[in-house]
């Protein structure tokens, strides 16, 4: 598969860009923020996306999905990055859908995938427990309890956690924090006794939840995949989520860059359009080059997820690292080159800086992935 969008994917991109620019642009995010919207995303828009098939982009046709694959998923995520559209796309349509599909064959996929596709169910991944993403550090315990398990502990930074109908929860059934193995995934529904969700408003005007598990009892059926062996499915879900965030970041970075270049072509100081200043031109040219590299490695990660998902860990890590780093550079240059106006809340460019920061931290920042890559190569 060549590293370019095919016709179908290009059509999808045009459609996505048209829809998002029109119906879910940055002004929507601002409004969600200013009205302190309860969900933190537009339910109407999410229904539209379901109708367009986006919620089922990674879901097999047997469960009502359009099954267009990761490259197509990336197209949607990238366009959402351009408009900073808030939605449960990454949590639900990407990570949960991938986990459920991967687990497959049990009751969970039949129970949840169709309602994901329908835009009805929101499913969050409850994984992180501390300030920095690191699945191996998971400490939360799931102890055998009767025929099932009892969950005790707390999760933080659970994207869409406060509106989730269910959560995929990673808990330790074996081993000690710091070990990759010994995790088990559980499907926990929102009304489970002992589950407490507290919404937090975030710097990017999106939201995430603190989730407390106070002796939450689940049956053995709640296990997604195999006991102690949750890493298999978790890794797939994380790779999918990281690639989606990389695509989103790439979109946000490109958009903020393009807006900046446009601004430089307009803004005058010292009697000149400031885009004529060579120092600014060189910075823009450098940044453009970095954006090209970032987009290329992001696409390669998506392509690998489509073609050889079992070998995608390395390239996805590299892509998340590279895109995160470049997107931050892009955000910084964007605000700086917009000057004072870029510092105001009234201008939209600051929204990009905020979302890029959060998305670059989610599921592991550039340093985390760089470190992982070094470890994968034994140095």
């Amino acid at each position: 598969m060549p590293l370019v969008l095919n016709e179908e994917q290009e059509m999808l991109r045009d459609m996505a860009r048209g829809y998002l620019t029109d119906k879910a642009p940055v002004t929507q995010l601002r409004k969600l923020r200013d009205t302190e919207d309860e969900s933190g995303f537009s339910r109407d828009a999410w229904r539209d996306m379901a109708e367009m098939g986006w919620t089922g982009v990674l879901v097999g046709e047997d469960h009502g999905g359009v099954d267009m694959g990761f490259m197509a998923m990336g197209v949607i995520a990238e366009e959402m990055g351009r408009t900073l559209t808030a939605s449960p796309f990454v949590s639900t349509a990407v990570m949960a859908a991938t986990a459920l599909r991967q687990a497959g064959g049990g009751a969970h996929d039949a129970r949840w995938l169709p309602s994901i596709v329908a835009g009805e169910a929101v499913i969050a991944l409850a994984l992180d427990e501390g300030r920095k993403h690191d699945p191996a550090k998971t400490a939360m315990k799931a102890e055998r309890h009767g025929n099932g398990f009892k969950l005790d502990g707390a999760k933080t930074f659970v994207a869409d956690g406060h509106v989730a109908d269910a959560m995929i929860v990673a808990a330790r059934t074996a081993g000690a924090p710091g070990e990759e193995q010994g995790l088990t995934l559980f499907m926990v529904e929102k009304d489970a006794a002992g589950l407490k969700t507290e919404r937090t408003m975030m710097v990017d005007s999106r939201n995430a939840a603190h989730v407390a598990f106070d002796g939450v009892e689940v049956t053995a059926d709640a296990v997604l995949g195999e006991v102690d062996n949750g890493a298999v499915i978790l890794d797939r879900a994380l790779n999918a989520g990281r690639a989606a965030l990389a695509a989103e970041l790439s979109g946000s970075a490109q958009e903020s860059f393009e807006r900046t270049v446009d601004y430089l072509k307009e803004r005058k100081q010292f009697g000149q359009v400031i885009g004529t200043f060579q120092a600014l031109q060189h910075r823009c040219a450098h940044l453009f080059t970095e954006l090209e590299l970032a987009r290329s490695i992001m696409m390669k990660a998506l392509q690998t997820l489509d073609e050889a998902p079992e070998h995608a860990g390395h390239i996805v890590a590299a892509a998340k690292a590279k895109v995160s780093q470049v997107a931050r550079l892009s955000a910084n240059e964007a605000v700086q080159l917009h000057g004072g106006i870029g510092m105001t809340d009234e201008h939209e460019i600051g929204f990009f800086m905020k979302r890029i920061r959060v998305a670059s931290e989610m599921l592991g920042d550039a340093n985390y992935h760089a470190d992982r890559l070094a470890k994968m190569q034994q140095y």
């Binding site: 995430a208 605000v335 105001t344 920061r357």
Partner: protein, 394 residues
């Protein structure tokens, strides 16, 4: 005992007796810093007493002449007063743009009448001043400002808009650069005027920043009136006043360089926050960035020290303030990026008490302005290239 020793002893005794105990504690909230002005509400009786006692001696502006409300102190005496206040932990009785900016401008360019009229109320904290320089289309290129002041005989009628006027909504008067010579070359048609903000033609609107609330405002002039007697310096020569004040401001920033930049090492903060395993920070890639940033921070502090010592020794080059302004701003931005790396997802909570309402995230966003305000990074680099390296113009 020398005169200065006597002065020190007397000053210490006076401060001991007159500085209220509440004023000897570190500043805790913003309201502890007294800005004065008609709208000011004292946070405590002590704050009021302290201002009154200090103003009565002219010590809110110790080195201004006595006839204009100052203390008439020599440089050495003013330094001693500062030292003794620090020794006691005494807060500043009054901070204001009137003291820092307008005062020096009036002392240099104002008429005797203007000084008599405007300086004492500044010294007593009665009138609070705003600064009206930048406009939406005049940022780095300040001289392209468009706010118009049309001559009406004994007064001007002012129309236009200023931006980044700090605390304008709490100020009483504004000193502003306005265009009085629309046909002159751009630097030659600017005047420096003082405008009473208590008139219907002047309105202000606070500016919200990406980091949240800010002291900045937009200020609009809609047929506002400025008396001609309140023109400072000559008509159409306001650029001289502005340049003098900008240099003054830059030097203030540079000499307070350490205020611009928090030099506490990040490495140890990270170790406490993120944890250490086998003697090494849990994120070894970030560790490399932190130790390098700390080294640069140390080098930056050394440069500040060296420049100060050079200034004392009367050697070294000019335009140093651009070197420090440029590097300090960029370093500060880098530093807060790293603080965010250290803090991770926990810093993202924007309104939570756990993060003190997103304190670090807001600082992080606020630092982005460091390389824009007070002369952008690009302008500083131009200055270094042109004035220090003497590289040729295009």
């Amino acid at each position: 005992m020398s005169d200065l020793e006597t002065f020190r002893a007397e000053t210490r005794a006076w401060l001991e007796e007159n500085c209220p105990p509440e004023i000897r504690k570190p500043v805790e909230s913003e309201k502890d810093i007294c800005w004065g002005g008609k709208q000011w509400t004292f946070v405590s009786e002590a704050q009021k007493t302290w201002l009154e006692r200090m103003a009565a001696r002219g010590w809110t502006v110790p080195s201004w002449p006595k006839e204009y409300g100052g203390g008439g102190l020599s440089k050495e005496e003013a330094k001693i007063l500062k030292e003794e206040m620090r020794e006691l932990g005494a807060r500043s009785p009054l901070d204001s743009f009137g003291i820092w900016m307008l005062g020096p401008a009036l002392l240099k360019y104002g008429s005797h009448e203007q000084k008599l009229k405007f300086l004492p109320p500044i010294a007593r904290g009665e009138i609070r001043w705003a600064q009206g320089y930048s406009e939406p289309n005049a940022g780095s290129d300040l001289a392209s400002l468009a706010t118009k002041a049309v001559d009406q005989g004994d007064h001007f009628i002012v129309n236009g808009q200023k931006i980044w006027t700090s605390y304008a909504d709490e100020c009483d008067w504004i000193f502003a650069l306005v265009r009085t010579g629309p046909m002159e070359p751009k630097h030659d048609g600017i005047s420096f005027v003082l405008i009473d903000m208590e008139q219907p033609g002047v309105t202000t609107k606070p500016i919200k920043l990406i980091s949240g609330k800010s002291p900045f405002c937009e200020t609009f002039f809609d047929d506002a009136r400025a008396e001609k007697e309140n023109l400072v310096g000559e008509l159409n020569r306001g650029w001289d006043v502005a340049k003098y004040l900008l240099t003054h401001e830059r030097e203030m920033i540079a000499s307070g360089g350490s205020g611009l930049f928090d030099a506490r090492p990040l490495g140890q903060h990270a170790a406490q926050t993120m944890g250490v395993e086998d003697g090494m920070l849990v994120d070894p890639v970030l560790r490399a960035d932190l130790t390098r940033c700390d080294i640069d921070g140390l080098a930056f502090m050394c440069a500040i020290e060296r420049y100060k010592d050079e200034a004392k020794a009367g050697v070294g080059m000019g335009a140093k303030s651009s070197v420090l302004k440029y590097y300090g701003a960029e370093l500060n931005k880098r530093r807060l990026e790293l603080m965010m790396d250290i803090g991770g997802s926990e810093e993202f909570e924007w309104e939570s008490p756990a993060t003190n309402e997103g304190k670090i995230a807001r600082m992080w966003l606020r630092t982005k302005a460091n390389s824009i305000e007070g002369g952008t990074t690009e302008v500083q680099l131009n200055i270094v290239a042109k004035r220090i390296l003497e590289m040729p113009g295009a």
